[in-house]
Symmetry: C2
Subunit: 419 residues, 2 copies
DNA sequence: GTCATTTAATTCAACCACTGAACAAATAGC
DNA sequence: GCTATTTGTTCAGTGGTTGAATTAAATGAC
């Protein structure tokens, strides 16, 4: 049995922009019902779905039959119900159907994980290594090995991988080429070509590339969206060596005209400030990037590996180290000025601090909120929530895997047609 | 014959998020075909539409029959074609069907206009008057009178008004209440209530309010979108007394969580700059607002009415008045810093300068582009276009009227069901 | 001038998916 | 055991699309 790869991109529009043929009706209702099952707290019955969606029970039954046949949905154990009547058979996402493979390349680690339809992480590997001195080809080779092991493990658990997504800390174009990943030292790296020796990651199925490559900040934001703890629109700021942001609007990632949205690290905080290596002046990264915080805290010479720096900062902050507290307040103020701009522009009510910022949220939040309150015109009527991300350090990998299964949930028709 | 009002909001999602019943199919295809007719350069034939949409010619014929019966589409004069074959009958949006009423209240004028389905402005009235000393109730009374005259004129031309939208220079909530319009001096003005004496503007039809109230910058951006000269995603900056922006993403206005997006005037340019009346410091409005430009140009004492200030600036700039040129360069730089932030964040490739900025584009563009090139990470690969708005001074009124007819084009089913 | 050719639009039987109502299944309460 | 109640399925009916055949209206060759 061959593995089916059908991921063609990370954002899922779910709107049938094109022609609405006869069968589209079924496709839309498959997506509708499956979406409700995915969103429900406890396994809903067919009758409940009918009441919820407005479809008739007959239609829901037919739709569910398709979904069960396609291994997307299973019936839960018959739970004892209160009151009279035939007991409902609860429906839930299948744990043994299609799954998504999520990959991540970052400055100091590689990660691979597998997430099933229900959102459970079924496999997770992190390979710590400084990737800066390694060539892109070699790094991708190591990644492919990780991917291969993840696949074996997934299949041993009865899962079928339905696609893969890869997060990188840089700008990615439509073809999956990494145009620029400054902190990794990559420039114009043709990821799909370099992975050509690993067919499962590159062989096209029906002309669709199996591997989606995207910015890690975008994928981390998607992961946060799918974790169910975030609202439909929010800004997710990833504080790694650089600072990236994922923008989620109305339940969908906003990727911009070329897919290069979220470059929040180079928003000018002080237009006449010190020069940044991007060519601008006074960019946010100069005030709230990892190096800037370490240097302001007097830890510049320590030369910590990137993943240690964050934990070290948290420890010192918890110990109320004065220079660290000051550095975090300064960083928070700079983030707050930038976030105020974003909120004035987009009217978002939630900001999620992710990556290295997540454990520092307790210290960053006060100055961020202070700047928002000072600078956002509508802050008085609509308070802005600032909270830490719920996914851990490899949020991008989990988000990448989640994006694959979310795509199936948003358009089950494509998956079912392949059986 | 009664006037039918069916406008319920300005943004048009067009996606059938809910249940997909039997009839939804027809509704979606009505929207699909009508949308293609609206977007086409020259009147397409049924056959061309079939090829374009992927529907069969039979289906297109049936759909078009409905659209013609509903007065949304008419057949164009049979144009002589090249080559053999039965001549195609071109289809175009009807000029005598439903139309939209657009209204605008601004600091120094009231405007009303009527736009037909094809986007033609069929009626246009501007009433110049300083609205600051006038009470909101009285201003709205004058507006209702303008609206009444527009309606009479529209009906004399055989048009049926299908809804109305009103643009105001301030923040509007879901209920149509103006929460804050600083330059007008309004605060918590319940527009629908104050218009209660003018039933055509407030009587609900099927529980739907006939009048949508929105920010003028949003409506001006929509007008620009519908004029067909702008791409699917762009930033529209309205330079009036204040500075507002409309954000169009993927062909739809982005309104934010509460509908208060686009407050670009209070994005901090210099976080430690002079205090702004919004409570923040160094806001864009302090560097590129009308007063700031006039003051920097040494024209602060002139006390020109708002509409004159813009023309005066244009004249002086054309005459190469040194202080004015300097003031415009300074303003353009501030705008450029802000736009750079927006482009870094959203990856837009087009910025439209509207309102008072439109005639000044020639002088504002160079400094804006210079800042973008310095500060936008991706500027080297994807150049940003900065261009003037194509609609005139009352862009918001035209955009408001356009939003009404665009809603019908996006969801013709609702309109047809009312016949 | 006639006729083949070509393209446009309509007609019609077939089919697909949803609807609504009737029916079967499974439980609680009396 | 019987009824009430709720779940889920079956089935005839219907709306809307499909695809092929047919009609319509022009050009161009002879």
């Amino acid at each position: 049995m061959t593995v089916v790869w059908q991921c063609q991109g990370v954002t899922s529009p779910a709107a049938p922009a094109g022609a609405v043929r006869q069968g589209s009706l079924r496709e839309l209702n498959l997506a509708l019902v499956l979406g409700r099952i995915a969103a429900a707290r406890r396994p809903p019955s067919r009758a409940a779905l009918a009441a919820d969606t407005g479809l008739t029970r007959a239609t829901v039954s037919a739709v569910v039959e398709d979904l069960v046949a396609g291994r997307l949905v299973t019936e839960a154990d018959p739970t004892p119900r209160a009151g009279a009547g035939r007991p409902a058979r609860g429906l839930m996402l299948a744990g043994d159907g299609p799954a998504g493979l999520g990959l991540e390349i970052n400055v100091d680690y590689l990660a691979a994980c597998v997430v099933d339809l229900a959102g459970q992480v079924r496999h997770h590997t992190v390979h710590r290594a400084d990737l800066r001195p390694v060539s892109p080809a070699e790094a991708l080779g190591q990644l492919a090995e990780l991917a291969g092991r993840a696949r074996v493990d997934a299949e041993a658990q009865g899962l079928t991988l339905a696609g893969a997504a890869l997060g990188v800390p840089g700008l990615v174009d439509d073809a999956g080429r990494v145009r620029l990943a400054p902190n990794l030292g990559w420039r114009d790296v043709p990821v799909p070509e370099l992975l050509a020796d690993y067919p499962p990651l590159t062989e096209r199925v029906d002309g669709v590339p199996p591997l989606a490559v995207d910015n890690e900040a975008n994928l981390a934001a998607l992961g946060e969206l799918h974790s169910g703890t975030a609202p439909g629109s929010f800004l997710h700021i990833s504080g790694e060596v650089g600072i990236g942001a994922g923008i989620v609007l109305d339940g969908a990632l906003f990727r911009g005209t070329r897919g290069w949205s979220g470059e929040i690290g180079h928003i000018p905080v002080r237009p006449d400030g010190p020069p940044c290596r991007c060519g601008g002046r006074g960019c946010l990264e100069l005030y709230a990037g990892q190096e800037a915080i370490l240097s302001a805290a007097g830890l510049a010479g320590a030369d910590l590996p990137a993943d240690r720096a964050s934990t070290r900062l948290t420890q010192l902050a918890a110990a109320e180290h004065p220079a660290v507290l000051h550095a975090l307040t300064e960083a928070g103020t700079a983030i707050g000025v930038t976030v105020a701009s974003v909120v004035n522009l987009l009217d978002l009510d939630t900001v999620v601090l992710g990556g290295g910022y997540a454990p520092l949220t307790g210290w960053l939040r006060p100055p961020v909120l202070a700047e928002i309150e000072r600078r956002v015109l509508t802050a008085a009527w609509s308070p802005v929530t600032v909270r830490p991300a719920t996914l851990g350090a490899t949020a991008a990998a989990v988000g990448a895997a989640g994006s694959v299964v979310r795509r199936i949930i948003a358009r089950p028709g494509g998956w079912l047609a392949r059986l």
